[in-house]
């Protein structure tokens, strides 16, 4: 009893220095942002307006209720499915029941919930969400697969390991203000920009890169000679400008991911490989069934960091944003910045930031639930 008390006290004593700093400089700002968001607030506090900013940002609350309801139904559908399957019911019935619940759930979620919100809320916020989503989807999978590939190659190589490690890490240590300026020049619409020179060696037409608000798919259609396309082609894919920024982001973080993954690879005990070799597994099989599962914790960690990172990404996007890109690169953090620095509206900006905070939180939890379960933590 007494030792348990001492244990508790010791634990808290160890935590205290870090917690004081984290509460003071990490949690207090979150609370403060919430407080600010409830007020009309330019530079100083003006009037208390409650949740008005949230309604303005998110849209009609009734749609929010629908959204939550939809999420609830979908969640219930999943629970029901696994529950029924556990009971050993024939899977055809289970999937029928599941479908009956899931489809209306999705409809409520997307049509009544999300669509309704987007129609009544702030277009800048929803555009921000959309762009942020494109940005995350565009960077994370590609970045992680490239890094996994490179790390695997690096792991297999015997010579020049150090040189490559330095080379791959270079982008990460270059100050963002410098490298983003370099990329802005590389991806400029000028006919002799590096991107255009590279592009034209394949016989393609010059592109406007960071100045192009059209979606990459629309540009592709244009390239193959089509003249018109449905509007969703433009709205459901990232713009060329955003794609250029995605390339920059991948460039910066692939090396960082590679270095960390390489460490994960080096930690895999040799006997796994030896056993596989004895079983006569080929290279791909080894990679798929031994390497990948064993680095999955590292990959999971990197994907968590990447999700949080892409949702908060700001500096390089701000530097590489051009008027030509219109709002096609305005991720949420850029929209928040605009509200503070261009429109001097700290109250509303804080509400947007708080929405972003909740979004990241939910996403991280989801990721933990969905992906976290598939991570292989060894024997």
């Amino acid at each position: 009893m007494d030792t348990r008390r001492t244990e508790q006290l010791t634990a808290w004593a160890f935590l205290t220095p870090a917690l004081v700093v984290l509460v003071g400089f990490g949690l207090f700002p979150i609370g403060y942002a919430f407080y600010v968001s409830l007020h009309k607030w330019r530079i100083k506090k003006e009037a208390l307006i409650g949740f008005e900013h949230y309604v303005r940002a998110l849209g009609d609350p009734q749609h929010l209720v629908f959204l939550l309801l939809g999420v609830g139904i979908v969640w219930a559908a999943y629970r029901l499915r696994s529950h029924l399957l556990e009971r050993g019911l024939p899977s055809a019935y289970v999937y029928l029941a599941w479908g009956i619940l899931l489809l209306p759930g999705l409809w409520v979620l997307f049509e009544l919930g999300l669509n309704g919100l987007a129609a009544t809320g702030d277009p800048a916020l929803y555009n921000g969400f959309k762009v942020t989503f494109f940005y995350a989807i565009g960077t994370i999978p590609l970045q992680l697969s490239l890094a996994t590939g490179l790390a695997y190659l690096l792991f297999k190589s015997m010579r020049a390991k150090g040189t490559f490690r330095i080379l791959f890490f270079l982008p990460y240590v270059t100050p963002v203000i410098a490298s983003a300026v370099v990329f802005r020049t590389i991806f400029s619409p000028h006919p002799s920009s590096l991107a255009n020179r590279f592009w034209s060696t394949f016989g393609f037409e010059n592109q406007r890169w960071l100045y192009e608000s059209k979606s990459v798919v629309a540009l592709f259609l244009q390239g193959v000679g089509m003249e018109t396309w449905p509007t969703w082609v433009d709205s459901c894919f990232p713009s060329m400008a955003l794609t250029s920024i995605i390339l920059y982001n991948i460039w910066v973080y692939v090396g960082y991911d590679t270095v960390i993954l390489l460490a994960g690879l080096s930690a895999i005990p040799r006997h796994y490989y030896e056993a596989a070799e004895m079983d006569g597994a080929n290279g791909w099989q080894v990679f798929r069934h031994i390497t990948l599962p064993l680095v999955s914790p590292t990959l999971f960690f990197l994907s968590m960091v990447a999700v949080i990172g892409t949702f908060k990404a700001f500096n390089h996007i701000y530097i590489m944003r051009t008027p030509g890109a219109r709002e096609s690169v305005d991720v949420l953090s850029v929209a928040i910045f605009d509200q503070i620095f261009e429109f001097h509206n700290a109250g509303y900006a804080s509400a947007m930031a708080f929405v972003l905070f909740v979004a990241i939180l939910v996403l991280t939890l989801l990721q933990n639930q969905v992906l976290g379960k598939r991570v292989f933590y060894g024997d």
Partner: protein, 278 residues
């Protein structure tokens, strides 16, 4: 792990391609930094002769000497502080049973999730208050530059992962010898943590080296400003002197690269030993 002869070219081909992609913007930067202004205006690829003078000019005009010194001092303070705080916090989170542990850990992670744009104001308010109520100056001084970042959630997370991987037998035998948590942490765990600590130190160092908006906010004079501020003055200044900007950027990058080069072996090891298990 040996590879069968025929596939060597594939491995090095892939690596070479990756290396090229990773290295060429930096190479471009490097080349541009050696050009005359005329060459950079004409968009040539290679400078005719290397203009070392660009570096001298950038160094003098941006007052890099002073900023370098500041950045180094700040980095040393911040890295040591972060290491100490994170080590202390990671230990109970990884190896002790106490009520509220999961809540604390979740709270630590939550601090990662709010954009800096909105934390900057409340954090400045806190610093101002501390500046007024503490016996030493915070603004225009190292505390404001370093202390707010000393308990980085990322560092705590990484160290915690590492400590969870350390066998329990170590602790059991230490306890039999009569060691408490403090002694166990500093005498037994600390030497084992060398590599992950270097890793955390490296990331902290990079972060502190590249910080920009916050240092400008809490300083009014160059006395405590880091190198990124010097670089920004240079990069944003009118006149489009790309060659000088790039020279400045290279100057600001080299120290980080050097540090990484020196510790990279252990740095990689540090991550590998943490195993990053959940």
């Amino acid at each position: 792990m040996a590879i069968k002869g025929g596939k060597t070219w594939l491995v090095y081909g892939g690596l070479g391609l990756g290396g090229l992609a990773a290295g060429f913007p930096f190479a471009w930067m490097l080349l541009a930094s050696f050009m005359t202004r005329g060459e950079s205006l004409r968009r040539v690829f290679l400078p005719e002769s290397l203009q070392w003078g660009n570096y001298l000019k950038a160094w003098q005009e941006a007052d890099f000497g002073l900023y370098f010194e500041n950045s180094l001092i700040i980095a040393v303070i911040q890295v040591s502080g972060t290491l100490l705080f994170s080590l202390l916090a990671a230990y109970p989170l990884a190896r002790m049973e106490f009520r509220g542990r999961d809540t604390v850990f979740a709270g630590v992670l939550a601090t990662l999730m709010i954009p800096e744009t909105v934390t900057i104001v409340p954090n400045f308010l806190t610093i101002t208050w501390l500046h007024r109520n503490m016996p030493f100056a915070w603004l225009n001084n190292w505390p404001a530059m370093t202390i707010p970042f000393m308990a980085s959630a990322f560092s705590i997370f990484l160290l915690r992962q590492f400590m969870r991987g350390i066998p329990n037998e170590l602790w059991d035998s230490a306890r039999i010898d009569g060691a408490g948590h403090v002694r166990f942490l500093f005498q037994i765990l600390l030497p084992l943590c060398r590599a992950p600590l270097l890793t955390v130190g490296m990331f902290t160092y990079i972060g502190s080296w590249n910080a920009l908006a916050w240092p400008l906010l809490v300083t009014n004079t160059p006395d405590w400003r880091p190198i990124s501020v010097g670089l920004q003055q240079f990069v944003s200044e009118a006149g489009a002197e790309v060659h000088l900007q790039m020279a400045g950027a290279v100057i600001a990058t080299v120290p980080v690269l050097l540090a990484y080069f020196l510790i990279q072996r252990e740095f990689t090891e540090g991550i590998s030993m943490s195993g990053l298990k959940g």
